[in-house]
Symmetry: C2
Subunit: 465 residues, 2 copies
């Protein structure tokens, strides 16, 4: 890209700001100027949505701690960041963005040479959560933005005139589990309702273990049920939800039903969307000539299997933003796909369970037509004789013919979750289970049995193949 | 190997027993018989030497907990295990082992078809520790066998007629650090004396951080000094040690000066030894026709650089034993080298530091003639806003020309150590720093910043290259 051009970025969270800064860095290193304008609808930039449940739980003193970089800090780094500006339309042939300043109401057409779309995702809210007419039912809320987080903190502090005693969590995924943790730690009696098994990104046999852990912490877990109605008090606020023909009391109801790409703006401009509703960048994050997309508004490519997936996560948003920024500045970078590596935990009421997963699940593998074989191995997080040794279950899935590792899932006590990275690197580099069994992994009694649990599992599966 | 043969294994710890059982399994799977005789000088089998400091510290209630499998359990699995039997000589041409029953004094010549040498290593004890005449000075001891462990537990409980108040640890490596932890936790004022920097298997800049952590826990750390004399009480027991012209009080003195291969038996039988004093098996663990060696009596090959190294560790012993057992039974397995992956911690007096390392140090890399570049990156073990976030320093070393990762070292708070496995898999599979930066590693606020610290360090080094 020649210097003296303008880059417009839509969205000032992880993907957008990574793109903006990387584009500036690379352009500057080449001795060119780049006018970088970032337009953000809200007043928030670069915040950790993943941290909100811990703010609600009381681990994080204030929402401002979740902001990695404020608008002022971004501006000090040389980016013209304008908050409170909504982009109304993109004109890709005239190379302009039509934007409205939400405070003044002024609308302008902003020309661009390069455009990055980083519009993120929106949390899913079902019809019953809005009383059918689109008006949110007080006490029912998603967990997505800093404003959501603030509302949750206020709600638990009694902003509705009373401190809630009963919580319902709808959805058994990451946000569901983490909000259940927050509610139990805040002393609320908690019910979790989920359509499938708890932690649907795990195979059912491992998801079951998480369900049992929640049960031990006193969470009432309702699996295989969907919430289809909400009961309200005279003031309109939520009182209970109905699922599977039963009513569950809930002064507050947290929605953890996932997210969908916020891709309408791009679609209206004629950019194609995938089956999952996201933009479809190539591996350079390009969606059209001089137009780039990154983060939660995009679908990604699964590194194992190659299908399009939607994995809204800051790790990918950061990397994709960097790749887009690098390429639009004339560099050459590629986003190399996602494994679906993820971790979380539930730690409340004396129960501690950590969860890790990477690669496709057994179901996804079967759908892809692989002849896979899997094994669950029980081990301990530390040497069995150490006081910190907790049980850990490792599920390893491999291709029968090539012996290649396809996926690893872990559920266990403290020290479990981050072990998934060992598996993720092995998956990323296409190792066989035999290779993992031969590797020089670390051992000391407080940290591991002599053979690391991931390695034991791979060795056992290799022996069986 | 045809069935109906006899395998003799010398040594019943990790390497020997892994070889014995793997040989039995493979032979049985092929429908043959194998007469497996294991000869062990002591009464102990398959125990965790690494667990001894935690037994001394009080984490492990009894030494029996450190025994992974007793002699009876091994026998029940079909191995003729004879304890209290010392092997006096090997006759490789006549294919016999000359052994003495230590109880009865009887000597016999035991014929073998296949022989596995798994004689382990011996802890280094300097001349001053034995008063010059070979008699141990009471209160001065190594930390190697279960008998050593029992002696340490008794000593701290006052078996010498008084409870010790002052401890000296000689050596700043793994055992030194772990015994310092044990002593501080048991309430002893503790001095650690080491010839070089603390944790000499780290680069000095990271070793320094460990030294400062020990200091914060109240350990007096004396670096760059060697103990050259011991002062005794009238009853002959230790009172102090002298190092660098100063005296340090010590009612007990733990020796953590490393180990040397116990390879004399093999040497007397004419088998060649390496510069480090260990046997030199090929990658099938063979040292001569039908003669195999595994575990701490062997030198290993560094996977990066290719030189012979001596890394006495249960992980390698287990793997090498398995490889030897597989191959002597007619299979085809290879030991694929060591990276030198290792972890430990120091956790006492409110100070918690975890340590991980893999691959050669900067010094080793320089000696090997590589043009390497390195970087230390400061980060946190969890997202910075979480209460469990601790500082973590990650040193990454890469080859300038190829950008290949050569080594990674970590020092930090809880959650640091096991991250070395991420690096170990990347080293094992010969990744560039750029590759690591692109990988899909796990993130959630209690476990990691959005970019894992190992990944941040690799990305920064990639940006600089």
């Amino acid at each position: 890209m020649a210097g003296g051009q303008r880059l417009v970025v839509v969205g000032a969270d992880a993907a957008g700001m990574s793109a903006a800064h990387q584009a500036r860095r690379v352009t500057a290193a080449r001795g060119h100027d780049l006018d970088v304008v970032v337009l953000e609808r809200t007043t928030h930039t670069s915040y950790s949505a993943c941290g909100i449940p811990y703010w609600v739980a009381g681990d994080v003193p204030d929402g401002s701690a979740l902001v990695a970089r404020t608008a002022q800090e971004h501006r000090a780094m040389g980016v013209a960041l304008r908050t409170g500006v909504e982009v109304l339309a993109l004109d890709l042939s005239r190379r302009t963005v039509r934007a409205r300043d939400l405070a003044s109401g002024d609308v302008e057409n902003l020309p661009f040479d390069q455009l990055v779309l980083a519009t993120g995702a929106r949390a899913v809210a079902p019809d019953w959560a809005t009383g059918g007419d689109g008006t949110p039912v007080p006490g029912v809320d998603v967990v997505k933005t800093l404003d959501d987080g603030r509302a949750w903190v206020d709600r638990l502090a009694g902003s509705a005139g009373r401190c809630p005693e009963h919580a319902v969590v709808v959805g058994g995924g990451y946000i569901g589990l983490e909000m259940a943790e927050a509610f139990v730690r805040r002393g609320l009696s908690t019910t979790l309702v989920t359509r499938g098994e708890v932690m649907g990104t795990l195979d059912r046999d491992l998801g079951e273990r998480v369900r049992h852990a929640l049960g031990r912490a006193g969470v009432e877990v309702v699996v295989g049920a969907e919430v289809d109605a909400v009961g309200t008090r005279p003031d309109g606020s939520v009182r209970c939800v109905s699922a599977g023909g039963r009513d569950f009391p809930g002064d507050v109801v947290a929605l953890g039903l996932g997210a969908r790409p916020a891709s309408e703006l791009a679609a209206r401009a004629g950019l194609p969307l995938g089956d999952l509703g996201g933009l479809l960048p190539d591996d350079r994050q390009q969606v059209a000539d001089g137009v780039w997309a990154a983060g939660d508004c995009c679908e990604s490519v699964a590194r194992i299997g190659g299908e399009r997936v939607f994995v809204p996560l800051g790790t990918h948003a950061n990397k994709q933003g960097r790749v887009a920024g690098e390429n639009l500045a004339g560099g050459s970078a590629r986003f190399e796909g996602v494994l679906g590596t993820a971790v979380t935990r539930f730690e409340a009421a004396g129960v501690e369970v950590e969860i890790g997963r990477t690669g496709p699940t057994s179901q996804q593998i079967a759908r892809a037509g692989w002849d896979a074989v899997s094994l669950v191995t029980e081990s301990t997080t530390a040497s069995g004789y150490m006081p910190q040794a907790s049980p850990i279950a490792v599920k390893v899935i491999a291709d029968r013919a090539t012996r290649r590792l396809l996926g690893v899932q872990l559920v266990g006590g403290r020290g479990t979750a981050k072990r998934v990275d060992t598996a993720a690197v092995a998956l990323w580099t296409e190792q066989r289970v035999d290779d993992v069994a031969a590797m020089d992994l670390s051992y000391a009694p407080p940290f591991s049995p002599v053979w690391d649990p991931v390695q034991i599992a791979c060795r056992r599966l290799a022996d069986r193949l």
